[in-house]
Each structure stands twice: as C-alpha cells, then as structure tokens.
Symmetry: C2
Subunit: 76 residues, 2 copies
C-alpha cells in the first residue's frame, strides 16, 4: 500500500498538481488525497480509482490462473 502511495504522489508531482488540485480534479476532498499518499489502507476503492484515473494510472490484476493481465480502470 505504501508503494501505491509513492506512485500516486510521484505522478501528482510530475503533473504539477497540489493535493488540493488533485482532490478537485478527482472529485474528492483533500483529506482523502492526503490519506492515500500517507498510505492509509482504509480508503474506498472508489476513491482510489478516481485518483488513478485523474493521474492516468492503470490498475491491473494478474495471476497464475490468468493468461493475460486485466485492466480494472478504464483510463489508459
């Protein structure tokens, strides 16, 4: 979860956004952005998806039982 936090913070920085700006862009409150980047585990999956979409980050699942990886969110 900490890894995800770092990825998100990194992308936000590279996009030149403040936490507040990312919050507005994602349609969320600033608190959640802060919490996510802090690595808080108990956030809504929905909130995470909104942030990932705003930052154009793909979320994928894979396993030994699957031939191909599957992308969960729709932004590329």
């Amino acid at each position: 979860m900490d890894k995800l936090a770092k990825v998100i913070k990194n992308h936000r920085k590279k996009a030149g956004l403040t936490q507040k700006e990312l919050a507005d862009l994602s349609g969320l409150g600033k608190t959640v952005i802060f919490d996510i980047e802090k690595g808080k585990e108990t956030v809504q999956f929905n909130s995470l998806i909104k942030v990932l979409n705003a930052l154009n980050i793909s979320l994928n699942v894979s396993s030994k039982l699957m031939e191909n990886e599957v992308t969960i969110n729709e932004k590329s």
Copy 2:
C-alpha cells in the same frame, strides 16, 4: 469494476470456495464478498486487497510515466 468482480468470482470458483468460505479466509463478512462480486464500487480498498491476497491475485499499477509495472499487494 465489473471486470474485477468477474476475475474474483472466477478465481473463487476455481479454488472451490463458497462466498462464506472466502469471507472467512479473507477475514471479512459474507456481505462484502457478495458486494464485490456484484461489482459494488464502494468497498474498502483494504477489503479488496484481503480478497485478492486470499485468492493469490496480484494487483498492479502502470502508466506511461513508469518504466516497470508495480505490484501493490504482496502475494504473488
């Protein structure tokens, strides 16, 4: 989100688990398992991770800004 629901349901079936069994295995209530497989978007990220770990499904992020994909949960 619907895609994720199908992946999870599929893996559960292949593992020969009922929703209740997966719930216990994940340390969650049966309601959440049902909700997740129904494609409910407003579930705790934490809950999802627990289910994915129980089913040995990797959750990964990727983007154009990243060279390599990053795995979020620790189970392979």
